[in-house]
Amino acid sequence: MKPYELTLRESRDFAAAEGFDALRSSLLERIETLNPKLNALVRFKREDWTGSPRLASPAGGELAGVPIAIKDNICVKGLETACASKILKGHVPPYDAAVIEKLKGAGAVVFGQCNMDEFAFGSSCETSAFGPVRNPWDLERVPGGSSGGSAAAVAAGLVPAALGSDTGGSIRQPAAFCGVVGLKPTYGRVSRYGLIAFGSSFDQIGPITKNVEDAALLMKFLAGHDARDSTSAPEEVPDYTKSLRRDVKGLRIGLPEEYFGAGLDPEVEKSVREAADVYRRLGAEIKTIKLPHTPYAVAVYYIVAVAEASSNLGRFDGVRFGSRIAADSLKEMYEKTREEGFGAEAKRRILLGTFVLSAGYYDAYYRQGQKVRTLIRQDFQKAWESVDVLLSPTAPTPAFKIGEKLSDPLAMYLSDIMTIPANLAGVPALSLPCGFTRSGLPLGLQLMGRPFDEETLIRAAYTLEQEIGITGRKPPL
């Protein structure tokens, strides 16, 4: 096995035994061969990642020598961080995001920055200012989004693990499309300090890894209260690696019937139902339950999240950072900078968000949206009375073709129909590879859990992963 094929835990052990340089040169070779095709990592220049000062030698610690790629919306001190947008071109944060501090503190090495949909607005990585990312399993297909660069990089062995962010499915859907593991933690579990905001009440940073063990290992360091993020929770952080055991006996798993309706690809449905059968065989209790407000989730999300986004993106005005188009008047400078700097999808969401917050429309849209969000949250609260975990597909279809949905925003938005509810409710959710289509595309299932109960998700996912043994299958590159 080549070093680039190793998992995160194996990479750490390899670096400890053989040295970080041996691991790095294998990864660099892999990246140089494949990244031009995949476009998963942005601004990648070999020399940036070979010498100091950009790449300090890994310190000691539990993640010593582990290279991790970072989504381009998580601030890394001294590295241009631009959310794959022209408007932030040249923006170099003077500080590390909380998660970067934590990873560095544990000895991990920031290694490459991942392509993404511009400002995380998208489900296909086609809205990036750096051009689309390609799916390692089929270069004609999208890797999913918005953390598609992270998922593609991990799937293709460019890095052993990556960080993504998830506002409406942006970690889980690309994980499913690329055949890797993606975990969106409970809202408040991981500090958002240093994550360039999209939908502040939805955003969470999480790991994208080759297997469940690596996700657990990373979560141990990502999670925890941070005084700089008022929405971060004071809950204690367990050692997630203790949940890496095959044990689902008596676990009550619910299949929400609304997630198995029209529009669901038969191959997706089949693999998820087979997974349910495996769980049943292993002693879990499988029941069908209702989450009755699911049909409103996408609509609510595209009101509340875009409202927050329209406000969050106001600061990209050409005054202090990123790009500026000079003009004769202030107003004209704003207009030109934002006209030139934002892509079509970003503009669409800014317009939508501005509209729903406008005088005269606020009550009909934003306020109403918040009410329905509460109902969706209550659906989940009710579900936890009878089940411990919810099992569903991660996405209604496998990876679609590049260009297939780009001109049809509504179809694109609907590809997040299974993942959005967890963000609306703030619950943790994990996507796990669970099979392949006949044509060889990976499929993913989603496990959703109680708030702050990532442990059960990890345990359930680990059990199935060990049982069906499909993680580790490599894309035909």
């Binding site: 601030c75 944060p93 501005t354």
Partner: protein, 483 residues
């Protein structure tokens, strides 16, 4: 203004709360630092940064709320007010929209009635909410460019909005004076208008006297002193009255006060007004304010100006006007109380403070806290007058020397030999000379012109360089030329 119309005025006061660090980050709030020295990713609105509420800002806000008799909200929630401007780093201001920390309350002002007497008026406080200040644009330095200083961005502000209960420029002035006194008593702000730690916008409309409905209002900005608030309101009332009487109508708009021209000018019309698209700030979770915490803050409150004035009237027999002047500043009231502890003649001490001492302090632009004449020293001066050691007239010469040299009244009097002459034989000698020199006046007096005696006393004072005790001089003269 004709008597047909009456003015309806409401004031919006922004006051910077005197915290060490900014409202949502740890940067210093110090005024006058190098531009952008007090900044960090949070107050610069750098991508990825997040706000965290400074508990001290909330504490001070609640303190003001209690002092203004406001209903304190049990739930603290912030909202985003969205608009683009280069001094606003995030393109939204974190403020409070529908749940201000302080709800309805009131404050008392004193106004002079037409008959000249003073009366109290209760002015409603509509709300007082917390928000962050913006940065400052600097238009000099670089040709064709503006610079932004973000030192002020994120300094905690309390916006105190009055009800439209004020009906004259004088009442507006009295409201501001009263509010400022309360804020200073609470030690929540230095209320320095020049440094911008207190700012005021005025909403002004007029209506036919007795009319229940409000007229169309204009908002006046750029008011940099209480006097200018008063002047601008006066101007605006006259402008609106003239407009309406001339058959026109008032347009809802924002106007800027021009101090030099002493006029208001249109800044923007209602049509150009912003839609701020308020929505709850998702980066700050709503907080609950416990009743116990509010009660604990209530216990911290000092005696406030109105209560102090009432006590001064009751305990020291001061008049309304005297009491209200003395309590205007906490330090002034403290000085007064110290002085009367040393010498218990409240009325005289009050007079000497207000007439002589304040004039001296003003001439040197000194605050009462830095007065070279201590409260004890002023009390000593009053004691010398009362004991007859010096006359009030002499005392007026003594005080400036005390002010200049820091000496006590006794030291000054001894050094200058200004002790009042009370030796009757000496007074009689002077009186004899004055009687001899002014036979006409003596005759006038004897003929019944009583005021001639005053003239003769005056002559005696003059001859003795003011050292003769006027009461004794009077007695001696009357006896000598007596009828």
């Amino acid at each position: 203004m004709t008597t047909v119309y009456e003015a309806v005025i409401g004031l919006e006061v922004h006051v910077q709360l005197d915290t060490h660090s900014k409202i949502f980050c740890a940067c210093s709030t110090k005024f006058g630092s190098e531009p952008n020295a007090n900044t960090c990713p949070v107050c610069l609105g750098l991508p990825g940064s997040l706000p965290v509420l400074n508990g001290q800002a909330l504490h001070l806000a609640v303190k003001v709320g209690i002092a203004l008799n406001c209903e304190i909200s049990k739930r603290l929630k912030f909202d985003r007010k969205n608009y683009f401007y280069p001094d606003l780093p995030k393109a939204y201001q974190i403020s409070q929209f529908d749940q201000p920390v302080n709800g309805a309350g009131w404050l008392l002002i004193e106004t002079r009635s037409e008959d000249g007497s003073w009366k109290e008026k209760k002015i409603g406080i509509h709300r007082a909410h917390l928000e962050e200040d913006a940065g400052k644009l600097l238009h000099e330095g670089i040709e064709g460019a503006s610079l932004v200083d973000f030192n002020r961005a994120g300094v905690p502000l309390l916006e105190i909005v009055s009800d439209p209960d004020l009906s004259s420029p004088e009442e507006a002035y009295a409201y501001l004076t009263s509010l400022k006194a309360i804020l200073q008593y609470l030690e929540v702000s230095d209320c320095n208008m020049e440094e911008g730690s207190l700012r005021c916008d005025a909403n002004v409309s007029i209506r036919k006297r007795g009319d229940k409905n409000l007229g169309t209002k204009t908002e006046i900005k750029n008011l940099n002193s209480f006097k200018n608030v008063q002047r601008a309101i006066q101007y605006e009332i006259e402008r609106q009255t003239e407009l309406v009487e001339g058959g026109g109508r008032v347009i809802q708009e924002t106007r800027l006060w021009n101090d030099v021209k002493a006029q208001t000018f249109v800044m923007r019309s209602k049509e150009q007004a912003h839609d701020y698209r308020y929505f709850p700030e998702p980066d700050l979770v709503p907080l609950t304010i416990e009743s116990a915490a509010i009660e604990a803050i209530r216990k911290e409150l000092p005696e406030l100006p109105a209560a102090k004035a009432a006590r001064f009237r009751k305990d020291y027999g001061l008049g309304d006007y005297d009491a209200s002047v003395l309590v205007q500043e906490k330090a002034l009231a403290a000085y007064f109380e110290q002085a009367i502890k040393a010498h218990a003649n409240a009325k005289m001490i009050s007079n000497w403070m207000q007439s002589e001492l304040l004039a001296l302090l003003n001439s040197k632009k000194l605050a009462i806290q830095s007065s070279p004449v201590s409260a004890q020293a002023l009390a000593g001066l009053v004691a010398l007058i009362e004991s007859g050691t010096i006359s009030g007239k002499i005392a007026k010469d003594v005080l400036p020397v005390m002010f200049e040299t820091g000496q006590t009244a006794q030291e000054v009097v001894r050094e200058k030999g200004w002790v009042q002459v009370t030796d009757e034989s000496l007074i009689e000698t002077i009186a004899d000379k004055i009687i001899a020199d002014n036979s006409q006046s003596v005759q006038d007096y004897r003929a019944g012109k009583k005021q001639a005696l005053g003239f003769l006393v005056g002559q005696m004072m003059k001859a003795s360089q003011g050292k003769v005790n006027p009461k004794l001089a009077n007695e001696v003269l009357a006896r000598k030329i007596g009828v």
